[in-house]
């Protein structure tokens, strides 16, 4: 049974005693166990470390730590050994014995497990020297990887809950709101609405009780920063929520988490229980006259529930249909009571602002967008992972300096930001500094921070088609324009990818995209035309190639390409013939093979298995 914290002073005494017990200077092996690393075998690596250290009698001299996501997912499972800050990448179970024998016992570096920088080919031994981390400015993710997410004591040892202490001890709710206003923090869910203004209107709204919601329904495909924060540092979000509840006068909070994130749900649930045990959540928090509880709601797998009013409907137990915003949620939200709803990253930023001061926070970033933003770098990029950077960094720096550029020497074609609501930004605009306004001007949006890199092999028409089929499946269907408009747009773009379209159709598509944007009620419909309009705006020549020449320049759209075998390069090895699922390849052994075009389904397996690059796409 934990001893309850009954005053702010208690918290400091507890923190000191935790720190005292921890000053051991023991070497430590941290294994990243975020979703990405776990999927590539991190838990097996961790248990193998534990059992082998025990076997060798070293477990008393060495700690093993299961940490949350470090964000360098491409290289997972990641292992960091301190002291020395030695980083090993893509570690598998069978490597563990060697790491113990060589690195832990003899202080030797195992070269094959060190990180090799893709551009320069340089080997990098220490974690803090890796360019991917070096160019970042980590505030929200600073402690991911330093703490065990399921241990509140770890969070406290790193200064956790001191922002809450400061607020409860010295500040009135009004002062907290004014601090958030001064910081110029804007909603990190993508809308960019000033957080302080939102809190103020909830504070002013008549009605009782008031509610607070954390939106963790991170539905944008290719986004996983909210997941990583909830998995790796759940208490930072919880602390932000408690501070917010104190500021606006809410006693009940909800967190709406995607069901696809079981680990985030698990870790956040533990964080709630531990905070309750210590009296940081529940009745009489820190001995003050302030009560606040948090419940977890699992999402139902509907993308539209990331929209604020739809997530409120879902928490109320209804279908997730958005409602019009004539009345703000801050006046009539959950159960028609004043409600403040913010994204995971917004809540996690709150303790940092309280701790370090609004002026300090406002000194980071651009004129209108303050602080840092976490981007999920994905797609055709060498270092897939999470990059936290000050607002205003250019896309080029993000993709090339942190992301390590495009794999296999391919040329970058576009960067897509903002998920299905965003747009594609072409290579010649990559020097654009990233903030809310600049991205909107370019026809895209910040969104929740997804950044998908596309190279010369990506067809922009196909990408637009992909997003449309996504939004078509995810439209809640309550607005006619969105429900029917997206379906019609998808039919039109499908015709384009099949070479069955015309220039008139393209004009109609543009017009319809604009109409759906103008006439839909919620953010899904209002932005679903962005991928279409931005790809037509910047890559019209690709559309024209599909429509006029009936060709797909990137070689993606199946109806417009064909495969053939280069008889000069083909050795007649028979691999393609054996692997073709539809028997569309013929040829004698050691003789050049041919593809029967009328039987070929263009699945591309032959091209993948050919060792001589003899299969060509036309």
């Amino acid at each position: 049974m934990k001893k309850k914290i009954t005053s702010p002073w208690d918290l400091e005494i507890l923190r000191e005693s935790i720190k005292e017990n921890r000053v051991s200077g023991k070497p430590c092996v941290s294994v990243c166990c975020g979703t990405g690393c776990m999927a590539s075998g991190a838990l097996e690596v961790l248990s193998s470390f534990k059992s082998l250290l025990k076997q060798k009698g070293l477990d008393f001299q060495l700690d093993t730590k299961l940490t949350g996501c470090h964000g360098f997912c491409e290289q997972g499972p990641l292992v960091v050994i301190t002291p020395g800050d030695i980083l090993y990448c893509r570690v598998q179970e069978e490597d563990v014995e060697e790491i113990i024998e060589k690195t832990i016992i003899k202080d030797e570096i195992i070269e094959r497990l060190s990180y090799v920088e893709p551009v320069s080919g340089k080997q990098i031994i220490k974690e803090h020297d890796v360019p991917f981390y070096k160019k970042q400015y980590r505030l929200l993710m600073a402690n991911n990887g330093k703490l065990v997410p399921t241990e509140i004591e770890d969070y406290m040892a790193l200064g956790g809950y001191s922002a809450l202490k400061k607020v409860l001890e010295n500040m009135t709710p009004k002062q907290v709101i004014s601090e958030i206003k001064t910081s110029n923090l804007r909603g990190r869910g993508g809308g960019g609405f000033p957080t302080g203004v939102k809190w103020q209107s909830c504070f002013n709204a008549p009605g009782d009780p008031k509610y607070l919601i954390c939106n963790a329904d991170e539905g944008d495909p290719g986004c996983f920063q909210d997941r990583s924060i909830l998995e790796g540092n759940p208490h930072s979000v919880l602390e932000g929520m408690i501070i917010g509840a104190y500021a606006v006068g809410a006693n009940q909070g909800y967190i709406y988490v995607r069901r696809e994130y079981p680990l985030a749900i698990e870790n956040f649930g533990q964080a709630i229980e531990q905070a309750k045990e210590y009296g940081l959540l529940g009745e009489g928090i820190m001995g003050m006259d302030f009560n606040f509880n948090v419940k977890i709601n699992r999402g139902g797998g509907a993308f539209v529930c990331g929209e604020s009013s739809a997530s409120i409907a879902s928490i109320e137990g209804k279908v997730g249909e958005p409602r019009d915003k004539h009345t703000h949620a801050t006046e009539k939200g959950l159960w028609d009571k004043p409600t403040v709803l913010n994204n995971v990253k917004t809540w996690a930023t709150v303790p940092i602002i309280m701790e370090k001061g609004a002026e300090w926070f406002a000194s980071i970033g651009t004129e209108k967008s303050k602080g840092t933003m976490i981007f999920s770098l994905t797609g055709k990029v060498n270092n897939t992972g999470l990059a936290e950077v000050p607002m205003g960094m250019s896309l080029r720096e993000l993709v090339f300096d942190i992301g390590g550029g495009v794999p296999n020497g391919k040329k970058l074609k576009a960067v897509q930001t903002g998920g299905p609501s965003g747009g594609c930004i072409p290579e010649n605009l990559l020097d654009l500094p990233v903030d809310y306004e600049k991205l909107s001007e370019a026809g895209s949006m910040m969104g929740s921070g997804g950044l998908i890199v596309m190279d010369e092999d990506t067809c922009m028409v196909d990408v637009a088609k992909y997003f449309l089929s996504f939004t078509k499946d995810e439209s809640c269907g309550s607005c006619f324009s969105c429900r029917e408009g997206i379906t019609r747009m998808q039919e039109m773009i499908d015709d384009i990818t099949r070479g069955k379209s015309s220039l008139e159709q393209l004009e109609l598509l543009k017009e319809l995209a604009q109409v759906v944007k103008d006439t839909s009620m919620c953010g899904l419909g209002q932005t679903c035309g962005n991928p279409i309009l931005s790809t037509i705006r910047y890559f019209e020549e690709e559309y024209l190639a599909h429509i006029v020449e009936k060709k797909c320049p990137a070689g993606v759209c199946r109806d417009l390409i064909s495969f053939s075998i280069d008889s000069e390069l083909c050795t007649g090895c028979g691999r393609c013939l054996k692997n073709c699922p539809v028997e569309a390849i013929q040829g004698e052994k050691k003789e050049p093979h041919v593809i029967l075009e009328d039987q070929c389904t263009k699945c591309g397996i032959c091209r993948e298995v050919c060792k001589f690059d003899a299969v060509i796409k036309i």
Partner: protein, 158 residues
């Protein structure tokens, strides 16, 4: 599948003390238990909480996490997120449909495989990827997925 009503009652009672009964959470618990929503269980929820069947059906059909028909022995999810898409997920999906003789959202005729497409599981570094019975298989090529499915078919034959 036989539905144990006492178990359903326990699931309902877990939440019914709350003033804001979270119907979705109750249905999720039932769905987790049976891997679909048995009609009998829905009737029980409807009766005990005095909520109409039509309301429960509207939830069950709106949210993707629910199924009104039993799932196959193996559950396969193919990630169709953007990062997986640009790395070739559509072809992987096609291959899975061929190999397991099943289309997305359906269960194969032999009741072995249920296939779902999901919009990003947040492991984009591993794209394209499939999740088979909760286990992630990432960085797939057409060849790799073929071998993986072969392994499942062998399991079935033995």
């Amino acid at each position: 599948m036989k539905v144990d009503l006492t178990k359903i009652d326990q699931m309902i009672d877990k939440y019914s003390s709350e003033e804001d009964v979270p119907y979705i959470s109750i249905l999720q618990d039932i769905n987790d238990e049976y891997r679909y929503l048995p009609e009998e269980a829905l009737h029980r929820v409807s009766k005990k909480l005095a909520v109409s069947m039509s309301q429960l059906y509207s939830l069950a059909t709106f949210y993707k996490c629910f199924s009104l028909v039993p799932k196959g022995k193996h559950e396969v999810q193919v990630c169709m997120g953007t990062a997986c898409h640009v790395r070739g997920a559509p072809r992987i999906l096609e291959k899975v449909c061929q190999g397991f003789k099943v289309s997305p959202g359906k269960t194969s005729e032999d009741g072995e495989f249920s296939l779902e497409t999901v919009n990003c599981v947040g492991a984009c570094a591993l794209g394209p990827l499939v999740v088979m019975d909760g286990k992630y298989h990432g960085k797939l090529t057409l060849n790799k997925i073929g071998k993986l499915m072969g392994g499942y078919h062998e399991k079935e034959d033995n």
